[in-house]
């Protein structure tokens, strides 16, 4: 247990020591999205009855920031350690694959959570957002951080250079988050795009998280939680297999 806690502590310190870049910057980015999109669309769009577009945007932006930062945390930590070579200190230790996975994933959840909470706190100034089902919001925040943290570990292990990781982030993570219904309800899309959206696991995270605030969602929160939990379990299994087998880590 102390080994796991030390790696977790190290991972938390790693992003905390550069918090301007890892926490403040993504909060500012989300704030800019809110200001621009709400200014451009607030008078034209009402997604849910009685919910302003600005209010609708806020949970989605918080979840999007949470997801992207959870991914960034684990993936960048692992690839940096791999490329600079200091991952050897972890690999030489008696840490088990489960402990390594747990520490990297939990640190990613914490970073995602802190950024998501920061986005909420900063943007709530611009609209009243109710919190009707806080437990659902918390469950989806944890599942989202865990899912993207786990995905980040896989990407960090797989990528041999920063370029490959950036490609994974720019061509997979960012499109999936943008197309997860952050800026719109998928029910407003043409049928084919509705089907496509339902194949995107990130959609269930955004939709379920938003349910926690407004009590309204495109899919029932239990169904969303089931889909996302399945993804988290699958990614955990992949992670443990990669770490136990030493894929690209122990040659």
């Amino acid at each position: 247990m102390p080994s796991f806690l030390t790696l977790l502590q190290k991972e938390l310190l790693r992003f905390w020591k550069v918090s301007f870049q890892t926490i403040a910057a993504p909060i500012l980015t989300a704030l800019l999205y809110l200001l621009i999109f709400s200014h451009a669309l607030a008078s034209h769009v009402q997604v849910y009855p009685g919910v302003s577009y600005t209010a609708f945007l806020i949970p989605g932006l918080a979840m999007m920031s949470l997801l992207q930062n959870a991914f960034a945390n684990s993936s960048s930590s692992i690839i940096q350690s791999k490329i600079t070579g200091n991952l050897v200190f972890v690999l030489l230790s008696p840490l088990s694959p489960l402990e390594m996975f747990g520490a990297y994933a939990l640190a990613a959840i914490v970073r995602g959570f802190v950024v998501g909470l920061g986005v909420l706190l900063v943007t709530l100034y611009f609209a009243d957002v109710p919190l009707q089902h806080p437990l659902w919001a918390l469950i989806f925040a944890l599942l989202g951080g865990g899912m993207l943290g786990a995905l980040g570990i896989i990407a960090g292990i797989w990528a041999d250079k920063f370029d490959q990781l950036a490609a994974f982030q720019n061509f997979v993570i960012i499109p999936l988050t943008f197309l997860a219904g952050v800026f719109y309800s998928v029910n407003t899309l043409p049928p084919i795009w509705q089907v496509a959206s339902h194949l995107n696991p990130f959609f269930y995270l955004v939709d379920g998280f938003r349910y926690g605030f407004f009590g309204v969602a495109d899919v029932s929160p239990a169904a969303s939680a089931a889909v996302v939990s399945g993804c988290v379990l699958g990614l955990t299994a992949v992670n443990l297999r990669l770490l136990a087998g030493g894929y690209k880590l122990r040659h």
Binding site: N86, F89, P94, R250, H251
Partner: protein, 299 residues
């Protein structure tokens, strides 16, 4: 009593390169052991297999009786490795680095030992400096500290003195010697053969993934065939029958490589016959470098 290190038929291939080829090696507890060989001989591969940084294709490796694959937790707790490459985490200070490494091995409240390591490695002035601000030699010492932080019974140092100045090197060896006297098993790879000769009681020489020599340092030095003779002559010329022994000159003296010590008598007789006076003569001791060169040529 279990061996500190036990390697049985360990092989490892990287693509077309056979990095290790059915290596067998036992190192007893408390030994100061040298692992020598040219670049690419397999030294670092062997260390990586022992440390769990790489997996053997076949064979088995144990540290203090614990298999490095099946019982990796105990094997890694028993082993401290100073890696060859100068790696560090730029986010942390020297003290934080050592504390974290200690924590990875499940040790908390290890500050007294961490402080002692900092003091013994002469890092006190830099203890709270970020790793980035340290010189290469300082970083190397932190790497040594990281390997020692969990007090492992077996310590492997892969080229630990590369880039470390003479004074620091001597301090480092004093510390490592003391650890050895205290019962730690030390395995050393180095390109400074005089260091290996002075420190290691037993040596293995590797070439192309195979052990080509494995003996006590004393026996290796004794077995090196031939004697080397330094002669200052008047007049400075060699009789033709002795030309075949000449391997060069040094500071106005001639250096002869003889097949054995008995040949010294033949050399002196030939010189007397030719009326050449010996002004200075020295029979030079073989050193580990001679053994190394001979072994590498032979295999």
């Amino acid at each position: 009593m279990a061996y500190a290190i036990e390697v049985r038929q360990a092989s490892k291939r990287y693509g077309a390169v056979q990095a290790l080829d059915r290596v067998d090696l036992n190192i007893a507890q408390g030994e100061f052991f040298g692992l020598l060989g040219p670049n690419g001989a397999g030294k670092t591969t062997l260390i990586s297999l022992l440390a769990g940084l790489a997996r053997a294709d076949s064979g088995s490796l144990k540290v203090m009786g614990h298999d490095v694959t099946c019982d990796y937790r105990r094997a890694r707790r028993a082993l401290g490795v100073v890696p060859q490459e100068l790696v560090f985490d730029p986010f942390f200070s020297v003290r934080e680095t050592l504390r974290l490494q200690s924590g990875y091995f499940g040790l908390r409240h290890n500050d007294a030992w961490v402080d002692e390591i900092i003091q013994r490695l002469d890092l006190e002035d830099k203890a709270d400096s970020n790793m980035r601000s340290l010189s290469g030699g300082m970083k190397r010492r932190v790497l040594v500290g990281q390997a020692l932080v969990h007090r492992p019974p077996v310590i492997i140092l892969d080229e630990p003195t590369a880039g470390v100045d003479v004074e620091l090197r001597q301090g480092l060896w004093k510390f490592i010697r003391e650890l050895n006297v205290a019962g730690h098993t030390i395995v050393l790879t180095t390109h400074y053969l005089e260091e290996a000769e002075a420190l290691c009681a037993r040596i293995a020489m590797l070439k192309q993934g195979r052990i080509v020599a494995l003996d006590t340092t004393r026996n290796l030095l004794q077995h090196v065939s031939g004697a080397r003779l330094r002669l200052r002559l008047e007049p400075d010329e060699l009789p033709p029958p002795l030309e075949r022994y000449s391997v060069g000159t040094k500071d106005g003296s001639r250096i002869l490589q003889l097949p054995d010590c008995a040949s010294v008598e033949e050399v002196l007789a030939r010189l007397r016959e030719s009326h050449i006076q010996v002004q200075e003569m020295e029979v030079m001791q073989a050193d580990l470098e001679d053994v190394f060169v001979q072994m590498m040529r032979r295999h």
